[in-house]
């Protein structure tokens, strides 16, 4: 094989639908694989903790249907990673069921459907801790303790290329992956066909977010990557988009603190010596990427733990005197909650929009609030009943705040709704760590079935 072409129609399948026009142009270019990532930790810890998707089923199914029908028509494999936003086992099952259902609905000829799970039992991690292995914290996290592990409801391991390559070797036509490094989904087929890791991992890196590596800005459009023995070429499929030296090199820094490196289970992609060259109007060629394998494979673990049930409410403030003294209004309401529930065992949060609701402590204009404010109140507590009361006291008592010089003595805040609403439970990211493994497949169970037989 001289070269291998992969198209990616969506940088986060399900989060927003793919654009069919550029996807069709991608298919016209005769790709060898159709692949997309469907996960992200950007969506916060709630989906992983509560084992839900943040994407609507209709959008997930729509993109799976576009990709599956195209894959079967062209006779090329389709690959999806981090199913259903989190890549938990239930999300893999959800996508596998959708694939089977779409196949049945369209009467597709039999094909091999591979999948793998990424969830890691807490007890597996506990064994490592008790054996004295370091479960190392990333990005400012302390190394894992058993108490943080106990506070965790669900853990997924970030797969590298290994389970994808294993399923391709078994002849999978369609792969639904659990949690995985975005780039591994694209690197795996390139490695499977014998291309060098130096180029294969870069191919994955540049394709993972679809048209985010193209300009002008416009998400959810298809791009195509082509790998050869010496280089990677990336081409925008949308008629108005181009992959330029600036857009492709710029993508390397997106969502990463270091634009020169990217870590995987099993090694590191080094982009320090990448050379970018405009090949034609829509295509940029990249050479010089390196993959540096690790002697010891460490797999990243993501975990989320429940903090409590949550109720939310909001109110507005227009009196300039009250705007200037909003912290005292909040202080009054906090004190009423404290008198009812004490100092601990619950959380009460206020976001003051119009002052620093978006940026919090990072806001340089904290002392220049707008002429009206919106205050968003959250109460978090072990039971729904208590969370409701925490939020309700925290919100309603703002109405009764006692400011010494206020003229309006009939109520300190304005309510668009005189109620608090049951929101998703609060979770937090408990695990952002790495675990050493002797076998890179150890945490990932693969499955292969024939669909439509």
């Amino acid at each position: 094989m001289q070269s291998l072409k992969i198209i990616c129609p969506n940088g986060h399948l399900g989060f927003a639908p793919l654009r069919p026009e550029s996807f069709q142009l991608g298919l016209n270019a005769r790709p060898d694989y159709i692949a997309a990532d469907s996960g992200s930790d950007d969506v916060g810890p709630v989906p992983l903790g509560s084992d839900t998707s943040t994407s609507p089923k209709a959008w997930q199914r729509q993109d799976l249907e576009y990709m599956l029908l195209a894959s079967r028509r062209l006779g090329v494999p389709m690959m999806i990673g981090s199913a259903g936003d989190t890549g938990s086992n239930s999300r893999v099952d959800l996508y596998v069921a959708m694939i089977k259902d779409i196949a049945r609905q369209h009467g597709l000829a039999p094909f091999k459907l591979g999948s793998f799970y990424s969830e890691v039992p807490r007890e597996r991690v506990r064994l490592a801790l008790r054996a004295g292995q370091k479960v190392a914290g990333l990005d400012g996290y302390a190394d894992l303790t058993e108490s943080e592990l106990d506070a965790t409801d669900r853990i997924v391991a970030m797969a590298g290329v290994h389970p994808y390559v294993a399923l391709l070797q078994q002849g999978a036509d369609v792969i639904i992956g659990g949690r995985s490094s975005d780039a591994a989904i694209f690197a795996a087929p390139a490695l499977h066909h014998g291309f060098a890791a130096d180029q294969a991992y870069y191919l994955g890196k540049v394709l993972e977010c679809a048209s985010f590596c193209a300009e002008p800005y416009g998400g959810k459009e298809t791009v195509m990557g082509e790998i050869t023995a010496n280089d990677v070429r990336v081409t925008a499929m949308h008629p108005d988009q181009r992959c330029t030296v600036a857009s492709v090199s710029g993508h390397a820094m997106y969502e990463r603190s270091n634009p020169y490196e990217e870590f995987f289970a099993g090694g590191k992609l080094d982009m320090t010596h990448c050379h970018y060259e405009q090949l034609d109007e829509k295509t940029t060629r990249v050479t010089g990427s390196r993959f540096l394998p690790d002697a010891q494979v460490r797999v990243k673990l993501e975990g989320a733990g429940k903090v409590g049930e949550r109720y939310v409410g909001l109110c507005g403030i227009r009196d300039p005197y009250t705007v200037a003294h909003v912290d005292q209004v909040i202080g009054w309401a906090r004190e009423q909650v404290r008198q009812r529930f004490g100092d601990s065992g619950y959380q009460l949060h206020y976001n003051v929009y119009g002052r620093n609701g978006v940026m919090g402590d990072l806001e340089p204009l904290k002392d220049k609030p707008g002429h009206e404010l919106c205050v968003f109140v959250q109460g978090v507590a072990p039971t729904a009943e208590m969370a409701e009361e925490v939020a309700m006291i925290g919100l309603r008592q703002m109405f009764y705040a006692r400011l010494p010089d206020v003229k309006g003595t009939a109520g300190s805040v304005a309510f668009p709704l005189d109620e608090v609403l049951h929101a998703s439970p609060a979770y937090r990211w408990t695990l952002n760590h790495t675990l050493a493994v002797t076998d890179p497949m150890e945490l990932f169970d693969t499955h292969l079935v024939t669909v439509g037989a």
């Binding site: 709630v46 634009p259 949550r310 940026m359 990072l362 990211w429 952002n432």
Partner: protein, 105 residues
């Protein structure tokens, strides 16, 4: 040269999560001249960004002048991981606004 606000020199000014515990800021330029001018100005350094956001400079985990992308980028530790109750910006996508008007000599 008269001072110009950064948003007249940069093509892209953005912020976004870099993992669950950091927010990374990208300032990307259209041409090498603008990029070099801003670099030379000394207006965007680790210390200047710590001052702008009123944070200790240890909260800035990385500060990189990324020549291949004509970009300056820096990364800030969050005080709580993204999506913790009370977080007003789960994606970290709206933290760049103070950079827009930053005067570049």
């Amino acid at each position: 040269m008269a001072a110009l606000p950064l948003n007249q020199l940069a093509k892209t000014i953005r912020s976004k999560n870099a993992g669950v515990n950091k927010i990374t800021f990208d300032i990307i330029f259209r041409d090498k001249a603008s990029y070099e001018r801003v670099k030379r100005s000394g207006a965007i350094t680790r210390e200047a960004m710590a001052r702008l956001y009123a944070i200790p400079s240890e909260r800035i985990s990385d500060f990189v002048e990324y020549d291949p992308g004509l970009a300056i980028k820096f990364t800030v530790y969050r005080l709580q991981p993204s999506g913790s109750a009370g977080d007003g910006d789960i994606f970290g996508a709206q933290q760049y606004a103070p950079l827009l008007d930053l005067p570049i000599p």
